[in-house]
Symmetry: D2
Subunit: 278 residues, 4 copies
């Protein structure tokens, strides 16, 4: 018997959904601690996240909720349990380090199963926290060969989400397709946007006054998946491009941690190429 | 027959509220466009704001919702209609001016019935927008005498909210008691807080690095009513106290407009000395 | 005899510049109230802004400063006098309105000579403030024909800066070349950037979480001139594209007013395609 | 011979200071990479920070600069060398952890000599980074007795700054007087301010919409020393007081790291109870 659950439902919108769902809660004698719904009127989609307490059989609740909503609905009854994550990294430590500290602090609602990196440089930092560090070099390998090794390693872990903490390699659609909606990435972003090599240098040359970071789910379309969180940090003419990079790292780590926290709290729905964040 | 309404309900929390409320919506064949609930678990209070569409008799809906919830519940079925506001001001134009421009722009979801001021200086600005300006001088009057004149003037208008756009007079509890939960004020705020005369000078002498503004409902307790919105603006050592005041004015006008917008959209519940902002 | 001046100097960097410039100030018995220098080490460029007080002949000071620095240097000795601006607009009132209110309030360090618009809709707002409104319709005209009419109108005014307050027409390089470094524009900006029609709709479809605004000098390269100021405002999934546009307008008006204030205070150097903002 | 220095000078303002100082730089054939001055006109104080490069004898430069300015002037010629810090902590790891990670990353411009704590709980985290952790329990000791032990420990280290990374003990004026202008503290701050036990609970009950953090130098006057940096983070009605505390921790660590960075870069002058931050 569970005592508390996050219930997430998304489906095509139709009249009576809240009524039918709340009727199930009522029949189970559940208390609704919080509840948020959103209807995308253009797409006719319904999203709902409830936190319920009481005493209930989790599977029965899931089944009865499923029966109350349209057949194509996603119904998730998530009872408290720490989630598990794996982290992919390369050589920069700022985003990774913030997650490690939050984890050590007990603040992260997840266990870190492993950090996998294509460079060795972060081993020391990771192992200081007694977290497995797996080095899978990419040198001399085709992208697919390297990804095959990473995939083989990933199979050893049961994880909910994969966090790309400045993993500097482009993932193939094939790799991404193994973990739909489960890979979270952080990348710098600028106004205006800069493509090509060294965007910080471009941003410096353009004289931008703010530097941003975007955390998003990874899809086939590189850096173009559903955005979870964004923020910016002010810069000025006294910043050279390395200072801009340093400022960028600060906002990257803040935004990634914020996004990860939202995802681990089951507050994020993926809706096409957008997110609903409750 | 109405076609669209904002439904706001707050009452003691008990099991089944969402179910019973959504059943009423269902029986009326209403669509729920958006819906947010919040339960204050400490205070055992339930808050809900729904936007519903369909075709319905507004009074009947109100009556049936009232029947579905505990007897002490506040149930408001608000159908689209422009709200009306009156503004009290003194001599500063920044907060008032922003509201006037938004009004002229059609962006404000309210009509401005009148601006009442204890100084004459803002008459020109207000009348440029063809809005009645009423000058009620306070010189030589006891506070109660002046307030009696203001109250007499206010009785001429049917208004939903009174906005204190830098009205530099302290209101008596007796005055405030005429408009519970309907007076919105903006005032500067600082970290740390400064009491007494010229807080900007104190803030300058303290060397603060940010200056804030707080929009809140007015209660008997001066500047201590439920907070609707807050924000800050960065300052530095190059700001003298007049520069700080100028920066403060910018954040004041932004925060007041934001708060007013939330209130006019019926997004704000007063809950003791706090607000729930949906 | 002047009593106060802003001195702005930019030139190729070389040793002794501060010494030679401050020697001139010293010889003139001037007090330096504030002073900022910046050296772009890559470009070998020197920038300096000083505020000096004393009693001095403005022209002589200018001449002696010029003699103290490399021949190609720009030396500006700016004594207090209200600057003059003209505003170009189309139909949106938010950016224009904020400037009008600040002007009415005495807060803007400039006189508004005229508002020129290619639509008539803002006439009422502008004339409420007793500012000349000039309607120059573009319908049926070639771009060059319309610009010729605007240029002819502009010739009537002695102005320091031209502010594009949501002027929705693209200026030709020929037009821009009349006012190098004197045209200030505000435009929305997004992370990522969106090109083409209705960027707000694109931003909505992309599910961005922040919306930005960029104020910049106008150069031949549309929307790509030196950036003066930037900021962002948070949005979320509950914003439809019109809400995003509304949020965008708020940040646009704030950023344009901030940039205009910096420019009117002679705090902004143009340096290639960047700005130095002291 | 040094090749690069930060030169910091503060003294009573008088005419010719910049001239005389820059003459020294000129005579030493130094390049001025950046230069900022500020004059507090009310207090008649002059502040200047220059970064100079060239080839020079550090002591001679210091001496000649001293000769060029009023006798009471503080003249600091700081040549590149990593600064040293000690950290005092109690049990919270967020502020400490961020500094440790930045240190491990090579981003902090300082070496951490030791972490001294009145609880044992942070030992594990600190020692993971191979930094000495010194546990000095306070139980059963008078405040002065405990401080005497801490002072004795501190004497073992040559450090530039002491960072209170959520050190939950009040320092006596006597302790503070050993390290004037060298102790940096971070504390939460609120609008309005709350005194007494559990400010987060008070902030929760007051329904604040933002939570702040203030980094400042420690003086006799608890939490009232010169402010170095401040920032805020938004909260809302869904935050219980523990959520507010968590949000507060995030802004605390960001603000402390920012302030520490400014101090380590010699960008901060203490000016009475204020700071000048260049």
């Amino acid at each position: 018997m569970a005592e508390r659950a996050r219930v997430l439902i998304d489906c095509n919108d139709e009249r009576g959904l809240v009524y039918r769902i709340s009727k199930v809660f009522y029949d189970y004698e559940l208390n609704i601690d919080s509840n948020r719904e959103f209807v995308d009127k253009e797409a006719h989609k319904f999203f709902m996240r409830s936190v319920v307490t009481g005493e209930f059989d989790e599977k029965a609740l899931q089944r009865d909720l499923k029966a109350a909503v349209p057949p194509e609905a996603n119904v998730r009854v998530i009872t408290p349990s720490r989630k598990k994550i794996v982290i992919l990294a390369t050589k920069e430590s700022h985003a990774l380090g913030d997650i490690l500290i939050r984890h050590a602090d007990g603040e992260l609602e997840a266990d870190i199963e492993a950090v996998i990196a294509n460079r060795e440089v972060l081993r020391d930092l990771v192992e200081r926290f007694d977290i497995p560090f797996v080095y899978i070099p990419a040198d001399g390998l085709e992208r697919e060969e390297h990804e095959a090794k990473v995939l083989a390693e990933l199979e050893k872990y049961a994880f909910d989400y994969m966090v790309l903490a400045k993993y500097m390699r482009i993932l193939t659609p094939s790799f991404v397709s193994h973990y739909p909606g489960r890979i979270i990435n952080i990348h710098h972003s600028f106004l205006p946007a800069f493509v090509g090599a060294n965007p910080y240098k471009q941003a410096y040359e353009r004289g931008v006054k703010i530097i941003g970071a975007t955390a998003h789910f990874v899809t086939d379309d590189l850096d173009e998946g559903p955005i979870i969180a964004q923020d910016v940090i002010p810069v000025n003419h006294r910043f050279d491009w390395k200072d801009m990079q340093r400022a960028g790292r600060d906002v990257e780590k803040i935004v990634l941690s914020r996004a990860l926290n939202l995802v681990l709290n089951d507050r994020v729905f993926i809706h096409g190429n957008k997110t609903i964040v409750f």
